[in-house]
């Protein structure tokens, strides 16, 4: 055993350390916000007050009794935190933006700053927290008793000691003192408690280190590895199918709800939050903390079952295991870990609940009964502080009372779950309030009241086992012998686990009334206004929103309230911009709103509103304006989604347009070239016609033969002009040129010969040598002979005309290969650069190389004709280094499919 003195000294030293941390934390915070106090790590560690002595001692007990079930309590919060983007982010943003002081404050503010809702939520929270605080007191007392038991810890754990309420009382008193000193120093620090948070963070580290230390000691000291460890594990671990029933689902839901709704969790997660960065880190770091806490629970449970005498209390395995092996240091560390987890929970819970009691129960009552001393600022503030201090004592001793009444009853985990189920009643109002515009104050009130009543009847009161309000006979057989009202089998639903049963009925009633009554009632104008602020938290607030609420109040009166509640210092800075002589004047809507917001951060939204309303002489909220704004928001949301979609489409279209524009510009350039080309082609025959007709007119005495010749020139040139215009028309009717001629089978060689004959004269004049190389035999293609001849003429004349070399030469070759007739016209001229090979076939193109003028029209038409016959016209480099144009046409199938190879 350890002497009581040693344990007390260790506790005192530890508490002194916490005091020091809290003290320096507060001092650091007063010098300015930021620094390590608002780091995501400290924020995450403070959230881990979720792990109380229920976790530290109770998780192992739970694992021994129900196998993996203990994990649900940590899986629920894990899901909520890794899913922070879905809900938690919004909740925290609302709390941060509107300086929410508690879960009661947020719910009451959302539903029109309703005092009734604030009060109801506070009462539920206080009642629900009582078993939870009792649990901590029980764990602290038991661990202290076991540690100091004269016959040794192991023997003590086996004895089922009678709880020593004297120890419990002193523990409770100590916790009250710490909470009051650091949690309620003054209301100026308003809702954030930097000192306490710093101390809580230290405690979070201590409990994790302690549990991991015990776990490592167990695992490393274990001989035989996992097989030996799990050798005689309870059946629910090795054959766990029964674990995953309705109770598993219920517990995950309850734990997920609790990590949001428990007043202390709301305090550290929402109220103490200063930035989204903190939450982003906590979204994975807090689940990691839970994971590490749980990692050694099963090994410790198994080791306890193996090494400790039968009948030992499994809730104390963490403590008794080290002592059974005479590891006093690890044992003391384990005790301090349990001490940390219990004290941190009680401290933060009592601070959070005391704020709620003073803001939502005491202040509204004092205001309406005119009990609040409004004579001076000092008196008013002292009144609020006293209310909070008394509340802390009240809450802690309520827990002590519950512990006393419920006696030695039950496992730690079972007590905790009663609280979880109680606070889970907040969930519909909290989630509904942040997402559902139609949710009304009446709906929230009805749902909460019904859920609370059923919870109290089916779970809370029966937990006293007849010692309080509900006699044991009523629990067993129903009140007045009415069987269908039995608390554990309401309306005859008897086959469920009591916890699942209570959750089912309370949540059913809560949800049904919340939705039903909300649909039947209309929200008050203020609730409508608040719902707009809360639900659209991520949308920037607009100017027009301020114009919805119009109030009139004298600056002097406002100043009076601010002085009393906030203290002179803060009030002066609030009114600094106002001219002192104007104090009899009317305050602006903005000033009234600012003052109310500052007050709300201290005494809660409902009380702040009551205070401000007492000096406001007229108030109007334009419901029409609100409705209009709500419609606008909906429209804007729809529009912005549509816009995002549209802007993506527009970007794509713009890219396409830019491409089309580039193409158009290129075509435009080619069109200019083409027009000058056409101009040249037209002017040339026109020149001859005009010149000879002039000559003929001016020379009447010309010999007849000469006259005849000149007239023929005029006729030829006119025909040439017509052909040219036909060609241009062909170009403007795409795909038509092939169709105009009816396709018929013919020998393409004939077309080639025809073209060759008509170009001979031209070649001779230009001094170009024409070589007729290979010939195709027995080739028949489908199409029009004259048209094909036209193509060949075009290719030949190009080859002849645009060849500037000293010994110009054109080679013509044709063959049948793989079912296609191929004719190639190649020259030894300048050739066509690879980059331009496709471009020269475009309608308005012509070769860029020097001298390659006039080819534009012809090649485009030629390709069109060949394509019309189902063939291709391509250009490549000829063996002589010039250009080689190839016409390729499919051979007509029926006759000569065999033996057509060259």
């Amino acid at each position: 055993m350890l002497s009581a003195d040693l344990v007390i000294v260790a506790c005192m030293a530890y508490v002194a350390l916490l005091f020091a941390v809290a003290f320096f934390g507060d001092r650091r915070a007063r010098r300015g916000p930021g620094g390590w106090l608002s780091s995501p790590l400290v924020y995450t560690l403070s959230i881990s007050i979720y792990c109380t002595s229920w976790t530290f001692f109770g998780a192992v007990g739970s694992a021994v009794r129900n196998g993996l079930e203990f994990a649900t309590i940590y899986i629920g919060p894990t899901i909520v935190f890794v899913g922070w983007w879905v809900f938690l982010r919004k909740l925290v943003a609302v709390g941060r933006t509107y300086h929410t002081t508690s879960v009661a404050d947020l719910i009451s503010a959302r539903f029109g700053k309703s005092s009734a809702l604030g009060a109801l939520v506070t009462i539920i929270a206080v009642v629900a927290a009582t078993p939870y605080i009792a649990l901590q007191l029980k764990a602290l007392t038991a661990s202290f008793q076991v540690l100091t038991y004269p016959a040794g810890a192991v023997a003590a754990a086996n004895l089922n000691l009678k709880p020593d309420f004297a120890i419990a009382f002193w523990v409770a008193a100590g916790l009250c003192a710490f909470s009051i000193i650091f949690g309620v120093r003054n209301i100026n620090v308003n809702e954030r408690h930097h000192g306490v948070i710093a101390a809580i963070a230290v405690e979070a580290v201590v409990k994790l280190v302690a549990l991991v230390a015990v776990g490592l000691w167990v695992v490393l000291g274990n001989e035989g590895g996992p097989t030996a460890m799990f050798a005689d594990a309870p059946a629910n671990l090795t054959n766990p199918a029964d674990t995953f029933g309705s109770r598993w689902v219920s517990l995950v839901i309850l734990a997920g709800a609790a990590v949001i709704c428990l007043p202390r969790q709301f305090q550290v997660t929402v109220v103490e939050n200063t930035s989204e960065r903190q939450l982003r880190t906590a979204s994975w770091l807090f689940p990691l903390y839970l994971f590490l806490i749980c990692l050694f629970v099963i090994p410790i449970a198994l080791a306890g079952l193996q090494r400790l005498p039968e009948g030992s209390n499994p809730d104390l395995f963490v403590l008794t295991l080290p002592f059974s092996a005479d590891q006093g240091t690890i044992g003391l560390l384990a005790f301090l870990g349990g001490f940390s987890s219990a004290t941190s929970m009680v401290i933060v819970s009592s601070i959070a609940l005391s704020t709620m009691i003073s803001n939502h129960l005491v202040m509204p009552l004092a205001l309406s009964l005119r009990l609040a001393p409004d004579a001076s600022a000092r008196l008013m503030r002292r009144f609020i502080l006293t209310a909070r201090r008394v509340s802390i004592v009240f809450i802690v001793f309520l827990g002590l009372l519950y512990y006393r009444l419920s006696g030695s009853f039950d496992a730690l985990a079972a007590i905790g779950l009663i609280s979880f189920c109680g606070v889970a009643q907040f969930l519909p109002s909290l989630v509904g309030g942040l997402y559902w515009r139609r949710a009304t104050q009446a709906g929230a009130l009805a749902g909460l009241a019904a859920g609370f009543a059923i919870w109290a009847y089916t779970l809370f009161l029966p937990s006293f086992e007849g010692a309080f309000l509900l006699p044991a006979s009523a629990i067993a057989d129903g009140p007045f012998g009415l069987g269908w009202l039995r608390p554990h089998a309401l309306f005859g639903l008897s086959r469920l686990d009591p916890l699942v049963h209570a959750l089912f009925w309370s949540m059913t009633a809560n949800l049904a009334l919340f939705f039903g009554v909300s649909l039947l009632t209309d929200p008050t104008p203020l609730a409508r206004y608040q719902s707009r602020l809360f639900i659209d938290i991520f949308r920037r607030q607009t100017e027009s929103e301020l114009s919805v609420m119009r109030r009139t109040a004298k600056i002097r009166d406002l100043r009076g309230i601010a002085d009393r509640v906030l203290g002179a210092g803060e009030a002066v800075s609030l009114f600094a911009s106002q001219n002192t002589r104007d104090h009899a004047m009317t305050a602006s809507d903005e000033l009234i709103a600012t003052v109310e917001q500052r007050l709300a951060a201290n005494v809660g939204a409902a009380t702040a509103r009551a205070l401000v309303s007492s000096v406001v002489t007229s108030e109007t909220i334009s419901v029409e304006e609100l409705k209009r704004l709500a419609d606008e928001t909906e429209q804007i949301r729809a529009y912005s989604e549509e816009l995002e979609q549209k802007s993506r489409e527009i970007e794509a279209t713009a890219d396409e347009l830019a491409r089309a524009n580039r193409q158009l510009r290129a075509i435009d350039e080619r069109k200019d070239e083409f027009l000058s080309q056409v101009s040249h082609e037209v002017r040339t025959p026109m020149t001859s016609i005009r010149a000879f007709s002039d000559i003929l007119l001016q020379t009447p005495d010309m010999p007849a033969a000469q006259k005849q010749r000149y007239l023929r020139v005029i006729q030829e040139e006119s025909l040439r002009l017509t052909r040219l215009l036909d060609g241009i028309l062909d170009l403007n009717q795409p795909g038509d040129s092939g169709a105009r001629a009816t396709p018929a089978p013919f020998d393409p060689e004939l077309a080639l010969d025809q073209a060759l004959a008509s170009c001979e004269a031209l070649a001779r004049a230009a001094g170009v040598g024409i070589v007729r190389a290979k010939r195709a035999r027995r080739a028949i293609v489908d199409g029009d002979r004259d048209r094909l001849a036209q193509v060949f003429v075009n290719l030949l004349s190009n080859a002849i005309k645009y060849n500037g070399t000293r010994a110009p030469e054109v080679v013509i070759a044709s063959r049948v290969r793989k079912g296609r007739y191929e004719a190639t016209v190649s020259d030894n001229g300048p050739g066509v650069p690879e980059a331009e090979r496709e471009a020269i076939f475009a309608k308005f193109a012509r070769g860029a190389a020097a001298g390659q003028t006039g080819a534009g029209l012809g090649l485009a038409i030629s390709r069109q004709i060949v394509t019309g016959f189902g063939g291709t016209l391509t250009v490549a480099e000829s063996p002589q280094g010039g250009a080689a144009f190839t016409v390729s046409l499919p051979v007509a199938q029926p006759q000569s499919s065999a033996g057509t190879t060259d």
Binding site: L68, I75, V82, G83, W85, T243, F244, R280, S283, L295
Partner: protein
């Protein structure tokens, strides 16, 4: 053109991360709750440790890892948002 492309890709990236952040809790619910979890309740042991214990803790670790990745990517995206915010636009808090 290329600057717009990267910006758009950044936007898609951010949207993808946000979608992942929204899907993650539902994936966790599916993995942790029956009926899916019942797939792993056979009385088997791997290396002496019951299968269900390995499954629960394994999925748990995986979910935490995903959350950490999402958080760090959102942090990166957030920093870009800050950088792109116009000077006359006030930050949210």
């Amino acid at each position: 053109m290329s600057a717009r492309d990267t910006e758009r890709r950044g936007g898609d990236d951010k949207r993808g991360t946000r979608d992942l952040a929204s899907v993650l809790p539902f994936a966790a619910i599916f993995l942790f709750l029956p009926p899916f979890v019942l797939t792993f309740t056979a009385p088997l042991a791997l290396g002496g440790i019951p299968l269900i214990v390995l499954y629960i803790f394994g999925v748990w670790a995986l979910v935490i890892l995903c959350a950490a990745i999402v958080a760090s990517r959102l942090a990166g995206a957030g920093a870009r948002d800050q950088a792109f915010r116009r000077p006359d636009e006030p930050a949210k808090d």
